[in-house]
Every structure is written in structure tokens, then in C-alpha cells.
Amino acid sequence: MLSPGIGLLGVFVLLPILLTAWISLHSWSMYTPLSDMTFVGLENYRGLLADRTFMRSLTNTLLYSGLSIGLILPLAFLVGQFLYRSALRGKGALRAVVFLPYMIPTIAVAIIWGYLYAPLYGPLNQILGWFGLPPQAWLGSVNQAMFSLVIFNVWQTLGYYTILVLAGLTQIPTVYYEAAVIDGANGWQQVWRITLPLLRRTLLFVVIIAMINSVQVFDPVYVLTQGGPASATTVLSYQVYKNAFEFGLAGKASSMAFVLFLVLVVAVAAVIRLLRDPSGEP
């Protein structure tokens, strides 16, 4: 009964990841049979260090992930706290509305936001104009393009992380807050002393999932920017795809993919280490 599940995972997850590592040590064109692979050792990885587009995609990926997490974490906490605490009616409706974008294909989200960002005919610059702010180039600008992608990533995924925070908040026994009120603690003190420490595990989980999701960003880059303008939005996944399926450089693409994998492993390990409870609890 175990074999179908384990067998499929073995053949379609474990085997491919080992193959990626193996192929990354070879020079091989996608269009030729496996037997044409030639072993080149770490040559592909050495090549990556000198490849400016690749290095740019690496820093862009880190930038995209860092900005996304930096925005998602406080916003998810804020909205989650709001949904948990507010006395307003209709909180269930708001929860559904915030979650809705998460259900939609990222390709559709990217397309919609592409039109929102349109410099001349888009509504965002129009709205900025109402507040006397100058129109922005958004996706057309080398400096703003990456941030523009981050914004709609946050928009799309915020609801999911908010639900995680909300689930964590409901786990905190209300007696803690009641005791704090009796002791004269104000709202801020309650957040700092009770909510945040007890939410540590949830927030750690949010950071890790957000990291895993953002480090493999592909769809919006493929459909909206193709890595431009001037490789301002090129990311690791996009480079892997392009090198493998447009240039046919399977060895190089695999070394890039493996770097992405290593970056993720190191980042997750670092975050677990940094955010771990001093008392030793994970």
C-alpha cells in the first residue's frame, strides 16, 4: 500500500534531484542523448561565477525573496491580528476577500497587475495623480520593476499567510491576556510580551514557507518582463528555464538549479537558527 506513493516520489522527486546534481557536473545539450554527456567536474559552477546574467539573477532572487518576506511578515501579522481582535461585524467576509487572490492562477494575477501598472492607461498612476504624485514607470523602470513584482506577490499570497497567523493566534490561551489586563498591561505590551513570543513558531513557519515560495518565482517574470528591463527582473528559475529549454544547455541549467536548491537549504537553515527560541525549542 505504501509502494505507489513512495515509488512515485522516488522516481519523480528523489531521482530527478540526484540527476540534477549529476548533470550539473557535465557538459550536455538537451537535444542529444544521455550518452553524449561529457564529464567536466565543477566547470559549470566556475562558469556561473563569471556569468554576469546569472549573478544578477541570483541577487535579484534574493532581493525578491527578502522584500516579499519583509512585507508579508508584518502585513500578515497586522491583518491576522485585526481579524482576530476586531469587534467589527463581517470579519468572515474580509477573511474570504483577503484569501481570494491566492486561489487565482499567478499568470492571471501577473496579467491583471501588468495592466494596473500600465504607465498611461493604467489606474495606478491615475490614483497617484489624485494625491499629486508623479506617474511611475513601474515595470518599465530598471529600478522599480523588481519591486513591482514583489507588490503583487504580496497581494496574491497575503491571505494565505494571514490564515496561518490567524490559526496561531487562536492557539494562544485568552487567560494570558486577561491576566495582563488585570496587571495593567496596555495593548502594545500585550503584543510585545504575549502575542509575539507565543507566535514565534507560526512566524518562523510563515518565513520558511514564504522563502520557499518566493525563491522559485517564475510565472510573473516569464509572462510580464522576460527578465527585463536590462535583466532587472531576471531570476534563477527563469535562467534555469531559459538555459535548458531555449539554449539547450542542460549542464549549465542544472548547475543553476542546484545553486537555487543550495541557496534555499542554506537560507532555511539560517532562518531556523536565527529565529529559534533561546530555550532550545524549535
Binding site: 516520489l9 476586531s86 487572490p101 499568470i107 492607461y121 493604467g122 520557499i212 542544472s254
Partner: protein, 285 residues
């Protein structure tokens, strides 16, 4: 609860409520505006799309953009393909997850924890890392440009196994023991006794898996080539590349509405099972 947020006096309470209302409206507006823009734009005429300043509301319900979207790319066919891929994959995930989840939860054998740990470790591997070898494997099996090629590598998934193990573990052992004494095999136990109790878990996993594979882009993009084998999301991507001029925004947005609709409907009906699913397991398809 209010007193925790605002002041203690009634005027302070009223002020807090007012601020909360502002926050509520602001968040709702930000979340809904892009969706509003999508729907509204799909009904606008070419003139309205090129007007300055931008027009927010269409003056009439003009469905011609939808007809145009359907005639530009084979949306009808791609709908069928997406249903086969998302539905078939979901079914596969359910079967493999229930079986493996049962074994991990209820049967004792050597190396169980190590094996389960290994399964969990695969949960967060980004598909892009495996893309090149996966494509070659599917190619070697002769499945490129087929729906089966898209489905096959996804028929088992660690999250599903994890979710089912959690649920099956909650079923008391006594129920199974008495059936075993009556001579029931593990196979009968699983499908006669455990399976009927898994309703909520199956619903949660099914909606997750279905939307996840309906939305997926990178893998179908890699495997599928011919126009007849496209999924809805791939068709939408093609639609954009054919009609990127601003005056065709209505056609593209109509395509976006079409691609979004099944998931939105599914969500509206199964919202609770979705959100409790995430709250309980913290994860996605």
C-alpha cells in the same frame, strides 16, 4: 476585546471602531480592486480602453471580448484539458496519499520514521530544481505533449501523505484491532473502515490539489506544445502574446476572467473546508 485595542472610555471605543472600519474598508478595497479592474476591463470597448484619463466603468455589458478570446485561442478545448489534468492528478494524489497515510499512521515496520522523514523532506523541493531531468524522464517515456505526461510526476505528493497520516492517526486503534481479529486484511480495513471516516480530509486535500494543479504553469509549459493540448493557464499565456496591444486589453481580461472562474466558484462554495484545511495543517497542495 475592544479595550485591548483602544481606550477604555466609550468615546475612545467609538474612535477605535471608526479606525477599524477605515482599516477594513481599505484592506477590502486593495484586495478587490485588481479583480474589479479585470472584470470591468473585459467589458470595455476599444475606445474606452484607450481613453485618458482611464475609464473605470464600462457603459454596457459587451461580451464580444469573450467571443474574441474563445476564437483567438482554443479555450474550450483547454478547459477540458485542465479539468482532465487537475481532476486526474487530484484523484491520483488522493489514492496514493490515503494508502501511504494509512501505512505511516497505523502499521509498524522497521525504518518507518526514517522513510516518513524522507517523504517530508521532498515536500518543499522547488519543482524548477528537478525540471531538466524530469523532462527527460517524461520524454523517455514518450509522454511529451500529452496530458498523462503532465499528470504522471504529480500523482503522489508529500503534503497529501502528511495530511492523511495526521487524519488517520486520529482514528482509534481499537476500531482496527477488532476488525483484524475478525480476519479483515489491512486492505479491507483501509477502504471499509478508515476511508469512510476521512471525509473532511479528502475534501480539503481535493480542493487544494485541484486548484494547485489548475493554476500550475511551469510544468505544463515544459511538457505541452501543440495548441490542442494547452491548459487554460497556458491558453491565457498565449492569448497575451497574441494580443498585447492596449486596445485588446478587454480580450486578455476576458481570458483572465475565464481562467479564474472555476477556482473562484470552488472557493465560494468550499471556503470553510479550505480555510480550516490550512489552519489545521498550515500547508498547501
Amino acid at each position: 476585546m475592544i479595550s485591548q485595542l483602544g481606550g477604555r472610555s466609550s468615546s475612545g471605543r467609538r474612535l477605535a471602531l471608526a479606525w477599524q472600519t477605515v482599516g477594513y474598508v481599505l484592506v477590502a478595497a486593495i484586495m478587490l480592486f485588481p479583480l474589479f479592474w479585470m472584470v470591468a476591463s473585459s467589458f470595455k470597448t476599444a475606445q474606452q480602453l484607450q481613453a485618458l484619463p482611464p475609464v473605470w466603468l464600462p457603459t454596457q455589458l459587451d461580451f464580444s471580448a469573450y467571443e474574441r478570446a474563445f476564437s483567438t485561442v482554443p479555450f474550450a478545448r483547454s478547459f477540458l484539458n485542465s479539468f482532465v489534468i487537475a481532476g486526474g492528478t487530484t484523484l491520483g494524489i488522493l489514492v496514493t496519499s490515503i494508502m501511504a497515510g494509512y501505512v505511516f499512521a497505523k502499521l509498524r515496520f522497521r525504518g518507518r520514521e526514517v522513510l516518513f522523514g524522507l517523504v517530508l523532506a521532498t515536500m518543499f523541493l522547488p519543482p524548477i530544481v528537478m525540471l531538466v531531468p524530469l523532462f527527460r524522464i517524461v520524454q523517455a517515456l514518450g509522454l511529451t505533449d500529452t496530458l498523462a505526461g503532465v499528470m504522471l510526476p504529480n500523482l503522489a505528493n508529500a503534503f497529501g501523505i502528511f495530511l492523511m497520516r495526521q487524519f488517520v492517526a486520529g482514528i482509534p486503534d481499537e476500531v482496527l484491532e477488532s476488525a483484524r481479529i475478525d480476519g479483515a486484511s489491512e486492505w479491507t480495513n483501509l477502504w471499509r473502515i478508515v476511508f469512510p471516516l476521512l471525509g473532511p480530509a479528502i475534501a480539503a486535500l481535493a480542493v487544494f490539489a485541484f486548484t494547485f494543479h489548475w493554476n500550475s504553469f511551469l510544468w505544463p509549459l515544459t511538457v505541452l506544445q501543440s495548441p490542442d493540448s494547452q491548459t487554460v493557464v497556458l491558453a491565457l499565456n498565449r492569448l497575451v502574446s497574441y494580443t498585447s496591444a492596449i486596445k485588446f486589453q478587454n480580450v486578455v481580461m476576458a481570458g483572465a476572467v475565464i481562467s479564474v472562474l472555476p477556482n473562484v466558484i470552488l472557493f465560494l462554495f468550499l471556503q470553510r473546508s479550505f480555510i480550516t484545511g490550512i489552519s489545521q495543517t498550515g500547508l498547501k497542495g
